[in-house]
């Protein structure tokens, strides 16, 4: 398993999308620190990324809405997170020239595909909260 970027070969029409995806996967390894996929996984495994992606799941949201929805986020981290998500093609940023100005963030198609995965994480956390709390009290009871 190598970690290389793909030379731009002409797309082979004989491959299905699924086959191409499988071929691409084989060339990336998240365990290699230098691999782009590792760096991407590191970025995605971020609490603010997770919360923003979940907050955007039901459609476009304004900056101030996100700020209020995601309790505890600083302006700095919210803006920074939204910028990198925009750069990575996961959200779009739309500025409406009104007074005062309105800025709307929305998931792209790519963003939606990631959102589905991340939503699973949120569901898991909410569904298994009891189990985790029980495990903690068991663990903490021991010397």
């Amino acid at each position: 398993m190598k970690c290389v970027t793909h030379p731009m070969e002409p797309t082979m029409p004989t491959m299905t999308a699924a086959q191409r995806r499988a071929a691409e996967k084989a060339d990336y390894d998240v365990f290699l620190a230098e691999c782009p996929s590792r760096q991407l996984l590191d970025r995605l495994s971020d609490k603010w990324v997770t919360l923003v992606m979940v907050a955007l799941e039901r459609g476009p949201r304004r900056y101030s809405q996100l700020s209020r929805t995601i309790a505890g986020v600083s302006q700095k981290m919210l803006t920074q997170t939204l910028r990198t998500l925009e750069r990575d093609g996961l959200v779009t940023r739309t500025v409406t020239a009104s007074v005062p100005v309105t800025v709307t963030y929305e998931l792209t198609d790519l963003g939606h595909s990631l959102q589905r995965v991340i939503h699973g994480l949120k569901d898991w956390a909410e569904a298994h909260m009891e189990d985790v709390l029980a495990a903690r009290s068991t663990y903490d009871r021991q010397p």
Copy 2:
């Protein structure tokens, strides 16, 4: 939607496991900073947690194996991550009293259920690497 811990009511035998889970879910909100589920989601949305969970997916692993597999992790963070995963009931820690000592980590059933979700994140990162790289170069080309 409130964020409360459940008073220990006797389990209602008339509820299915799925029903009980749905009822529990309704009481947790990851957007509230003080909610346990939010804090759990924050912990899970961590790059070392993600990588350790993926590294353990094929069965038990020794500390040194994990250390070598997960490139770039420090002993401190690996130990710290494994400890919290153990405390949260996601992995077991087994010490074999040999010389030198052998320590093995393995996913619990709860851990496996989370691992399936996290694996989706890894798959997404590896599968959509090209899309993200393309989006970045488009973004960076603009002033």
